[in-house]
């Protein structure tokens, strides 16, 4: 696994590595407080069946999706490190099959914090072409390569937490539990390394933090995110999702945080982001300064739903980010 990572690390230039590392450290500073402050907490996780073979585990950081079948459990996102014991216990209590696969939607600590622990609790799916790997090895971790790079270039590398199965093309596909699993890269959205995870037979799409129904999207500009890219990603999601009768059900969507949704909520979220973006674009074209845009409260109908005056991502930061991107 290490050789594989080293090989992939060579794909980026030294300049890119330095920039990526700097951005990663900034993000760690931002998110590690969330992780540390939560370490002494007991997390109450909640398991909900979504449809088909897919479940949601809510609480303890970002949402976790589980694909469960006769072969084993596939875990999409492993929550905060401090919640990993509860996550493993929940899986073991409810499903009598081992954890074989882990998928990361992106590289933030509230989604990959438990990678090492969850991988160690499972094991690799044994097969005749497993390349000499022992079936006692940890479960395999899949992600876009941009999730792996900051982890292996950090000062302290926890190799057990690093995705070893990465991809650089537009998508990655494999079979698990008789179900086709697609990781579809969304460049420059929430981060530069976002993957949508689509379980085709169960008809469930896992969005990661591209879609967070409880708050304005966090655009991690320092790690390659962009508002335009996130709008594009939401529109890409709409090409995958097919609703059932009367615009509900059909393809279900698990957001990065919050409840189970379907196309309607994704459309509303896309509409919200596009409308605010185009209002600010118009304001800039009319020569309004950032302060004038803030005073105009151009997101005022959405602020009570998605906004926050406190925390690490406020409504003001959201507006500032859009303004900065459109001013470039």
């Amino acid at each position: 696994m290490l050789n594989f990572m080293k090989q992939n690390t060579k794909l980026i230039s030294k300049k890119d590595t330095t920039k990526t590392l700097g951005n990663f450290l900034l993000l760690m500073t931002l998110l590690v407080s969330l992780n540390v402050s939560a370490q002494n907490d007991d997390f109450e996780l909640e398991l909900l069946h979504v449809q088909g073979n897919v479940y949601l585990v809510a609480g303890g950081g970002g949402n976790t999706a589980l694909l469960v079948g006769e072969q084993g459990v596939l875990v999409v996102d492993t929550k905060l490190k401090a919640a990993s014991d509860e996550l493993i216990a929940l899986i073991e209590e409810n499903f009598d099959v081992p954890i074989h696969w882990i998928v990361n939607t992106h590289g933030h600590l509230d989604h990959i914090g438990g990678n090492a622990e969850v991988a160690a609790a499972g094991n690799i799916l044994g097969s005749s072409n497993s390349g000499g790997r022992a079936v006692t090895d940890p479960a395999e971790i899949y992600a876009h390569i941009e999730v792996m790079i900051p982890l292996v270039t950090a000062d302290e590398v926890d190799l057990d937490a690093v995705p070893g199965n990465t991809y650089t093309a537009g998508s990655m596909e494999f079979y698990a539990n008789g179900e086709s699993v697609q990781l579809i890269h969304q460049p420059a959205a929430h981060t530069r390394g976002d993957s949508l995870v689509f379980f085709r037979q169960s008809n469930v799409l896992v969005a990661g933090d591209i879609f967070t129904i409880q708050r304005y999207p966090f655009i991690d500009v320092a790690n390659g995110g962009s508002v335009r890219g996130l709008i594009d990603a939401l529109n890409n999601m709409l090409t995958i999702i097919i609703p059932n009768t009367n615009q509900q059900g059909g393809t279900y969507v698990i957001p990065g945080h919050g409840r189970i949704t379907d196309e309607y909520e994704v459309v509303n979220y896309r509409d919200m982001l596009t409308i605010i973006y185009e209002r600010i674009e118009d304001a800039i074209a009319r020569g309004l300064s950032l302060e004038e845009v803030k005073t105009a409260r151009l997101s005022r109908e959405y602020d009570p739903l998605y906004g926050s005056d406190t925390g690490f991502w406020t409504s003001e930061q959201f507006i500032e980010t859009i303004y900065a991107e459109l001013s470039q």
Partner: protein
């Protein structure tokens, strides 16, 4: 036990019994009667008509920038009316879901004539779902009998609309309803509490009359692009540029300020304000 205590106990028992025993049955085909809901029918309310609605500034701003072109967007074309707006719009069929072992009514099923969304009102005392459960157009409803009145509480409703002119109702709203049957008349009172887009509860009543010949018509909506919109097109009007906002005020000679809604405009005293504004 003396007679007074016995009578008191009987009184308490009778009141408690009324909580759980239905005295009437609301099942049947119900024809809508266009009374106070007439403005919501057909083409719907006019742009900019927010009169008498306790809306927030956020709701007003959203409606001011709304455009009916929204309904040309593929993903919006097949949206049915949500549980709180459906009764404003069409006739309906209510039928009982019976447990064939106990012959008790598990639930009422309620189907609106427009787009035939099926709603379930559970009567078996089950709890409402987790906050992480999906929201639906009809939400999750539980009902209890208070004498002859069925009281229904609904949560988990998808974001919808207070009026079809851009006034939104959020997905955080709770709907409380009172179904009262008097012979062949069904009165349906609904109260919406929405912490996002309403400053006070919005109370509406609708009347239906039994209509024995009423037949549901299957409705299978499939969306299609007939005008060539780009897939990522999101219709909206930029703030301050909605030229239609004053049409309602001008057509009915109502002061523009009085068309803007707000809790104060829901009370009779507001007539005096309108008079002052008109002078």
């Amino acid at each position: 036990m003396d007679l007074k205590k016995l009578l008191f106990c009987l009184l308490i028992y009778s009141v408690m019994s009324c909580e759980v025993i239905a005295q009437v049955d609301i099942a049947g085909p119900w024809g809508t009667r266009r009374h106070e809901d007439d403005v919501e029918r057909g083409g719907g309310p006019e742009v900019g008509d927010y009169t008498g609605l306790p809306i927030t500034d956020a709701a007003r701003f959203q409606a001011d920038t709304w455009t009916a072109t929204k309904w040309s967007v593929l993903e919006h074309q097949c949206e049915p009316h949500p549980a709180d707006y459906g009764p404003s719009f069409s006739s309906m069929l209510i039928y009982r879901d019976i447990n064939e072992s106990t012959w008790q009514t598990n639930a009422y099923k309620l189907v609106m004539g427009w787009m035939t969304p099926i709603r379930t009102i559970w009567l078996d005392g089950r709890p409402h779902p987790s906050e992480y459960a999906p929201h639906t157009w009809q939400g999750f409803s539980t009902g209890v009998w208070h004498g002859d009145m069925l009281v229904v509480t609904t949560t988990h409703i998808k974001e919808g609309w207070t009026r079809r002119n851009g006034l939104q109702r959020s997905d955080q709203a709770t709907l409380t309803e009172y179904f009262m049957r008097n012979g062949n008349i069904l009165t349906w009172v609904s109260i919406i509490d929405d912490p996002i887009y309403l400053t006070e509860p919005l109370i509406r009543s609708r009347d239906f009359e039994i209509e024995l010949g009423y037949q549901m018509i299957p409705y299978d909506c499939s969306y299609r692009d007939e005008v060539g919109l780009a897939p990522d097109f999101v219709p909206h009007i930029l703030p301050g540029q909605n030229e239609y906002l004053t049409e309602f005020s001008e057509r009915y000679n109502i002061p523009f300020e009085a068309t803007r809604g707000g809790a104060e405009s829901t009370y009779p005293e507001y007539m005096n304000v309108i008079k002052e504004l008109s002078e």
